[in-house]
């Protein structure tokens, strides 16, 4: 009897120690400036009568979505509304986690939800439920099933993204002597394989690869040359390392690697950097989609074959998404509108319930320092 009690006490003590350790851990690693604004916003209710707009990224804590959030906050301050921002942690970037957060917001009766879904179809029922509750549903960054949202704020059309990525690779490859009479093998590093964006970009890339302008680049074997490492950082790194070791000037080697996710592209740069025998930088090229900050070092490094990166203005994307959500709720625009006056961004067109932010942002060593995300 006594012994059992003792055990219980020890168990309780252990739990306490763990909690203290956890709290201690908190203060120790608190470094990202976003941390302070991050957590607490969800508690802000509608008490002060302000409009509440909730934003759900695919996952939290990556510079891409951090930048979106900065823009969104800017718009929220401008419009005098409350912005809730929450998302799954990066290692749990699943539909289920997103649904859990959405359910909470639906219960709170927020006014509008802005979401970047991890899975366009699986999230649809929850989004429809939100719509039935009178909540305006906007998708940004990645679309959901069309009937499950009111408007989609698209950063870039898939067509323009696919073309932009290929153009970035083509320019570099041509400078290195490839062309119509010297074909180049390319490889893609995608994400999870279910992501709506990446699927659409891949399709656009395939389409442009068939045109005369880009047909000197070929994906030799779709099975092995298109990677789907998911969102697990270590796995992305490992598969990029394998890809780098397959690169070189030879016909059975790969000459250009294009990263389609903001994790894959920096991983390509890093793995080239850490390769023991670096493939000849004059024969290969690395490029892809990522935030300027993530690629800065590699782009500025003369010996790294990564010279350009592509993205869109993330802050503007977050800003536009909040503007669209606000004006839709207020009745300034409807789903039938053909344009929106989006504050500092000026007028943006809305076509087929899609509001497109603009063109690709291609950055190289001359302007990479101008961006702070």
């Amino acid at each position: 009897m006594k012994k059992k009690l003792l055990q219980k006490i020890i168990a309780a003590a252990m739990v306490c120690i763990l909690m203290v350790a956890a709290v201690a851990g908190c203060s120790k690693t608190e470094t990202t400036p976003q941390g302070e604004q991050g957590g607490k916003e969800t508690t802000g209710g509608k008490s002060d009568g302000k409009l509440v707009i909730a934003m759900l990224p695919k996952f939290k804590g990556e510079n891409y979505f951090d930048a979106c959030k900065v823009g969104a906050q800017e718009a929220a301050d401008e419009l005098g509304i409350t912005l809730l921002y929450d998302g799954p942690p990066q290692d749990q970037a699943t539909n289920q986690k997103q649904v859990d957060i959405l359910e909470g917001w639906i219960a709170q009766k927020v006014d509008a939800i802005i979401v970047s879904p991890n899975d366009p179809t699986a999230i649809a029922p929850t989004l429809k439920k939100a719509q039935e509750a009178g909540i305006k549903v906007i998708t940004f960054d990645a679309d959901a099933q069309k009937d499950a949202r009111d408007l989609f704020v698209n950063q870039i059309t898939a067509d323009a993204a696919g073309k932009g990525l290929l153009e970035a690779a083509a320019r570099e490859l041509k400078a290195k002597g490839y062309g119509a009479d010297k074909k180049a093998n390319i490889a893609l590093v995608s994400g999870s394989g279910t992501d709506a964006n990446q699927t659409a970009w891949e399709a656009a890339i395939e389409k442009y690869l068939a045109t005369d302008e880009y047909n000197f680049m070929v994906i030799k074997n779709r099975e092995t040359d298109v990677y789907y490492p998911g969102t697990d950082e270590t796995k992305v790194n490992a598969e990029c390392a394998t890809l780098i070791s397959r690169m070189g000037p030879g016909e059975d080697q790969i000459q250009a690697a294009i990263g389609l996710s903001s994790m894959a592209t920096p991983a390509l740069g890093a793995q080239y950097q850490s390769a023991s025998q670096k493939p000849d930088a004059n024969a290969i090229t690395l490029t892809g989609l990522a935030t300027p900050n993530a690629l800065k070092t590699y782009i500025k490094d003369e010996e790294n074959p990564m010279n350009v990166g592509m993205l869109w203005n993330c802050m503007d994307l977050g800003y536009l998404a909040v503007q669209v959500a606000y004006q839709l709720k207020n009745g300034d625009i409807t789903t039938e509108s053909t344009s929106i006056n989006a504050g500092r961004l000026g007028t943006k067109e809305i076509v087929d319930r899609e509001c497109v932010l603009g063109d690709a942002l291609i950055f190289d060593k001359t302007n990479v320092d101008n961006f702070n995300y």
């Binding site: 120690i17 990202t32 942690p89 290692d91 099975e223 890093a270 070092t297």
Partner: protein
């Protein structure tokens, strides 16, 4: 006669068969996977292998004591993030490495104490700490620390032995050699096997079981710390997912290497081979022209075959050898 038969059988161990299998795979790749044996690819595999093996050696010790640790992935992620936080200050690798090891020891010791003090089965206890570690991560940072300085990525980008071999491989080599001797000759390792075989009789034999288990977790924690720092310094960005799923690779390497999950048996050399086999799978199938998405399924199949074969051997062994010692002694 009997003696001789025993001797021929003694090298036909599970590790031996595993080594043969590995050799066969390597020869197969040499013939069919063009470009597999380029220095670059070998080194990148060795780098992955290094951090897997270092942690797997720690896991091997834990499993030998008939415990387990499923929190390793989360633990490594925590250490990665914390290392990145201090690495951001521009501290050099000689500071980061011990710091990571100390953090690993602290977290893993919590596991060990939790298990021994509360008598909760290791899998349940570490499952709980997994949740705690994972739960702490999103609280501490919004997910990732990026734009880390060159001092942080020094190990991956700069540190190369003779300009070719990554320094992580050297670290792995040193740790492996020490582990091989330690687990064979040290008195401490004998205690581990004793506890794994039968905790109760180990206690009767005068072994402080609780203390030994906590120390085992602490040692393993130091090794997890080393692994964490190698993983963390691979690039300029450290996220909360750095160690995700690592524990399964480690447990798989250990089991493939012939260590019984029941505890009490298993050698370091088995883990050395087991980890190598698992680390080769993913790049190998990519070079063979198969989609990398198959790698997990293939790894699973290899483990399954190994476990089934092991189970059969176990049955056979038991039938032949298990004669009570008293009977043998009386016979003499």
């Amino acid at each position: 006669m009997v003696q001789e038969k025993k001797r021929t059988a003694s090298f036909l161990t599970k590790e031996f068969y595993l080594a043969i299998f590995l050799l066969a795979v390597l020869i197969f790749l040499w013939i069919f996977a063009k470009g597999f044996y380029t220095i670059n690819n070998i080194m990148s595999i060795l780098n992955t292998y290094s951090y897997t093996l270092i942690a797997a050696i720690g896991m091997n010790m834990i499993i030998i004591t008939s415990n387990i640790d499923v929190s390793t992935g989360a633990l490594v992620s925590v250490v990665c993030l914390a290392s990145a936080a201090i690495g951001k200050l521009g501290l050099p690798f000689p500071v980061l490495l011990p710091a990571a090891m100390v953090m690993g020891i602290i977290l893993s010791t919590i596991n060990g104490l939790f298990i021994t003090k509360t008598k909760i089965p290791a899998i349940v206890a570490t499952l709980a700490t997994t949740q705690i570690f994972q739960g702490v991560l999103p609280l501490t940072t919004e997910g990732s620390i990026y734009d880390l300085p060159a001092t942080f990525t020094w190990l991956a980008f700069e540190a190369k032995l003779f300009g070719i071999v990554p320094a992580s491989v050297l670290m792995c080599l040193i740790i492996t050699v020490i582990a091989l001797f330690f687990m064979k000759y040290s008195r401490f390792s004998k205690k581990l096997y004793a506890i794994g075989n039968n905790q109760h009789s180990a206690r009767l034999a005068g072994i402080n079981v609780e203390k030994t288990i906590v120390i085992t977790y602490a040692i393993a924690g130091a090794l997890f710390g080393v692994t964490a720092i190698i993983i963390a310094t691979a690039g300029q960005r450290v996220t909360t997912t750095m160690g995700s799923g690592l524990e399964m690779t480690l447990i798989a390497s250990v089991i493939l290497g012939g260590t019984s999950t029941a505890g009490g048996s298993g050698k370091v050399i088995g883990t050395v081979i087991g980890a190598l086999i698992l680390c080769i799978v993913s790049p190998a199938i990519n070079y063979l022209g198969i989609s990398p998405n198959w790698s997990d399924a293939i790894k699973g199949a290899i483990i399954m075959i190994s476990v089934v074969v092991g189970a059969f051997q176990q049955v056979k062994k038991k039938r032949v050898i298990q004669i009570p010692k008293e009977v043998l002694n009386n016979g003499k």
